[in-house]
């Protein structure tokens, strides 16, 4: 089974402090895709946060 890389999530708050939070998945699966979607959606829900997903190569 293919093990994939991860989503690395830099988060910039309104205070200008940047946080980097990482989501390390288990295997390539729908789990990862949905988990990523969830994090992406978080941007819409978290006022004042700029969240985006960047895959590590």
């Amino acid at each position: 089974m293919l093990i994939i890389a991860l989503g690395l999530l830099p988060i910039s708050s309104v205070y200008g402090k940047e946080l980097k939070l990482a989501l390390v998945p288990k295997f390539y699966s729908v789990f990862l895709i949905k988990a990523k979607m969830a994090v992406s959606m978080q941007r819409l829900k978290s006022k004042g946060l700029n969240v985006y997903i960047e895959d590590l190569k």
Binding site: V30, M37, Q42
Partner: protein, 269 residues
Amino acid sequence: MQDQVINQLIDEGVDGIAVAVTQSKYLVENSLKRAKEAGIPIVTYDSDFDASINGDPKNFRLAYIGTDNFELGKSLGEELKKLRPNGGMLIMQSGRPDSPNLNLRLMGVRSALSGKKYDIPPGKLLNNEQGWTEVREPLFNFDQLSQAVKQMESVMKGKPVKADSFIAVGGWAQNDAALYRDMIAPFQGKINDKEVVIIMTDTSPEQLTMLKDNLAHINVGQNPYEMGRQAILTLYKIVTKQKYQEIIYTPVTFCSPQNFNTCEKRAGM
């Protein structure tokens, strides 16, 4: 692989890591040990540390976000009881006999069907308890999808052992949709007539399409969307020194051929 990725993250100065654990012992003795020494908060999601770490998981992570595996197993059993209220002959399928979360699911199924409580996962083989008998030990596929499909085919054929109920505590056999469809097609009549009741775990889009096509009776889904959301939110709370929950159980969903297109939406998907 996870170890490499975590080491890379530490080198990049990450502020927090949420990990769906695969090799518990190896990780805690290597990259996660390094992360702990560097003061980087760790949470687990989907899959927590197992017994191989010889210690309390709390020593290695601040929170766990995922399915309550015992309750998931109970849900699978309860769904079977609805379809076969007078009991029956069951075969279960699991991944590995040394997987703590899967053993909790097996125990949940057995508890639901027998009405008993067990002290140690995976509980005990059912032997005419409330009408339920397991005709053999669970089939372990060791995460080999083709093996999972072959095992299920043997259940559908009734050879070498006949059963009228099948529960998979993971989605393995359906994870290769083409293989599953080829295998199950000759047994469509048995499914339609409920000669064998099929209850599966997980609800990927492919699985729901197969459910729509009446290639199983019930799929009980986990909630990876919520796991991902809560994992990052929890990490965010930890690093910004806010209150957080140490354990968050994400809800399961119940899907059938009748509600396949709406069942996931109810859980906020």
